[in-house]
Symmetry: C2
Subunit: 465 residues, 2 copies
């Protein structure tokens, strides 16, 4: 019988050390690379053989292709000039935690198939309840509990399914609510869940959902015989980091019996700093909450942090127990089986990297990092405010500055094109009130003042005075 | 301003090298550890401080906790004595690919946010169409295409949503079909999607879905005014690796206009060997297909391989395009944006590890590894067949042997308990035809003949003669 060419531990050492060096060198040189690669569709595939190799290849060739194939096709999210979309920070502790978790290769679908995968996750999510000053009832020793989900989309989908499952008549004509600024994932989740109606509620001058309009919409749907059941409030909208007012929205939801999910994907982690916590006022009225450690908390994708106020509502909706998963620990009722907290059955040991990030930085280190980004954004906003050709398109919030050219959309579009053409920075756009807007999202891990200054110089030069 | 304590490249080197050593040493010593940890619920949490650290900790302490906290709470899926559930192999190439992908930290939601993340994935999935001899129409240069999903549950959910979205009246009373042996994730997915009816179709003596019963059920639902729309056929059921007959099921689905999804989570990858491909007869009638590289193809979780015959059916169902994601490449229509192929928006660079696994082993190396497992399973089944106290509870298929004690359920239960109590091996159970069954799933990466012999000795001794 031929013997399978599994990698030996010694080969793992040799290749592993080389790849640690490669990765460290990438961290050191990424600032020299253009943020966006200059490839056209199909260019990468043209570098690859049409068929998979029949025989195993040498690692020298595999590693060489990192520089031949991968880097030329990489959009460098870890670049210090990354000001696009949102930060997706892969800190060293997180990257190494991902490797070790992969090496241990534990699949924590049940407590019994990975006790530390489960308990460490529960424990760190409890830590974060305290660190973010979330409602104490969300701790696992109360009625709630936290779980790591794949993404904020997956988290909201779980919330929607739990919200529907507790209804007396899930076959009723259900209606969900969110603001016009809500992330597109909510509409997608509702389509996935088969919910027929989503009402996009009007926003106010601060781009926050209007609770009065929410109440009106709920009342109108009820009057028409439909069943309002779910509302998503956003803390930190994608376009402008606007905050929906949780307390009046939560009161409206509570009175009408709606499940209030809070999508704080980008902004929620900022609550680790007491001075950014005012957005959370009224949070105790929410049924569920999601924020992404894989955006602005130095943990590489995927690591969405999801809490529920009532874990039984979630697990009753998502638990289906076949014989082959029965085991003594689950039957005892004394453990959490996280398979019942989300759609997938399988799950990897993501708590490890999150634990390492928190321990490496410490809470104070995390706060310092976020404060630096916010301070840089505040300075940047001030520069925009006093520039003759530019204007702020929305109030600066946390790490995001939205700006446009006073000469209108074409000028703003030209500004974005000119700035990105330099290659040393990358910004993206949105539309607010029908106007084309340039978003400056500060928060990539290696971004320092010098990189923000570089971005400002490019904008200033392209905007003209 | 305080400065955030980000890990430097040199610190990454130092800690990274140490953790490569730790991981390699884990691979070398895991066989000495008991497969299942001896911890009670709460034991792990009791080792952890009640609150997160305010100040960052030293890496010596963080790494020391791998042995103090993590290993004592780990169920060792990478143990050579792992015969439970299914293999979840984390090969060296895969583990290192996970690290490098995390280090690059690219988020490939759009082609433009990660061209190589997208194109390498498309390319490797096309390779696999050929390697697994899947229908050529599933290649990306035809009507189909492949994508890496988080799990088989997520893949099937995407299929269900696409199947519903193409219906003229998605609000009709929809019905889905699967066999009584179908994995529990299908029922869960249907609940998530809000589908009211799942018909569990009777199985035959081989535990395969009966196509005649499927036809009858579809006809009965139609006659009652309901709308049959989706069927899941299983290749390799969880309990006994039974194969549903694709051709007659596919013909019934085609005639009735149903979307046929094929769940080949465990067994599909075996088609890399020509001699195991007969299960795929009729596959060209399927609308979608999923198999898990993160089970038996040496790629650590998560790496579900999902193909559709008609990618437009999938992307039209899952694409919602907000302004802030618009970009020139997407608008050109010349690229794939994988965010439209699944529920989550974000995605990490999972193609890298899959590419590395295929290149490290080569197709022949992968075939050799699977053939070894199947040969060991065949020998094991023969031993069971000729044992006076044991019997095969199902035909041995691929790497799985189902057995029970001739003295009945209590004796089989005692057998499982005795075998697992040794600590050097781990097996799990299921129920077939109301009987308690011990499953021997051979296929953990380091498992060799000596480990299977050890398992046999334990079973033989505990069973008595």
């Amino acid at each position: 019988m031929s013997h399978a060419p599994h990698m030996t531990a010694d080969e793992f050492r040799r290749v592993g050390h080389e790849l640690v060096e490669w990765t460290a060198a990438y961290m050191e040189r990424v600032h020299e690379l253009p943020v966006q690669p200059s490839v056209a569709p199909g260019d990468i595939r043209a570098l690859l053989p049409a068929a998979a190799p029949e025989q195993g290849e040498r690692w020298e060739a595999i590693i060489a292709d990192l520089d031949r194939v991968v880097i030329p096709g990489t959009t460098h999210w870890q670049h210090p000039g990354w000001f696009g979309y949102f930060p997706a920070n892969a800190s060293g502790p997180s990257v190494l935690g991902e490797m070790v978790a992969a090496g241990i290769g534990m699949q924590g679908m049940l407590w019994s198939t990975g006790p530390v995968c489960t308990e460490l996750e529960t424990h760190v999510m409890d830590w974060l309840v305290d660190l973010l000053a979330l409602p104490a009832a969300w701790r696992s020793d109360r009625t709630g509990g936290g779980v790591i989900q794949h993404s904020a989309s997956d988290a909201a989908l779980s919330a929607i399914v739990a919200a529907r499952y507790r209804l007396p008549d899930p076959a009723a004509e259900l209606v969900a609510y969110a603001s016009t600024e809500t992330h597109s994932s909510i509409a997608k989740d509702l389509r996935v869940a088969g919910i027929p109606h989503l009402r996009l509620i009007e926003i106010d001058d601060e781009r926050a959902m209007r609770p009065d309009r929410l109440r009106e919409a709920i009342a109108a749907d009820r009057a028409a015989g439909r069943v309002p059941f779910f509302c998503c409030a956003t803390l930190g909208t994608t376009s402008s980091l606007a905050f929906d007012p949780l307390r009046p929205i939560g009161e409206a939801c509570r009175e009408a019996g709606l499940w209030l999910h809070v999508d704080a994907a980008m902004a929620g982690v900022a609550a680790i700093c007491p001075e950014f916590r005012s957005m959370h006022d009224g949070l105790e009225l929410a049924s569920s909450y999601a924020t992404n450690a894989h955006k602005w908390l130095f943990t590489n994708f995927d690591c969405d942090l999801f809490w529920v106020a009532d874990r039984a509502a979630l697990t009753s909706a998502l638990s289906i127990l076949p014989e082959y998963l029965r085991n003594a620990a689950s039957a005892s009722g004394a453990v959490i089986d996280y398979r019942d907290w989300h759609v997938p059955l399988g799950r990897r040991f993501r708590a490890l990297k999150l634990w390492w990030v928190i321990r490496h930085y410490g809470a104070e280190g995390l706060r310092a990092a976020l404060r630096e980004d916010v301070a840089l954004a505040a300075e940047f906003a001030e520069r925009v405010r006093t520039h003759p050709s530019l204007e702020l398109a929305a109030p600066q919030r946390l790490s995001l500055v939205c700006l446009c050219h006073r000469d209108g959309d074409d000028a703003t579009r030209a500004l974005l094109t000119a700035v990105n053409a330099d290659g040393s920075v990358f910004v993206t756009h949105t539309v607010l009130d029908g106007r084309y807007i340039l978003r400056v999202s500060i928060g990539a891990l290696p971004t320092e003042r010098v990189h923000v200054d570089r971005l400002w110089d490019l904008i200033d030069r392209a905007a003209g005075r």
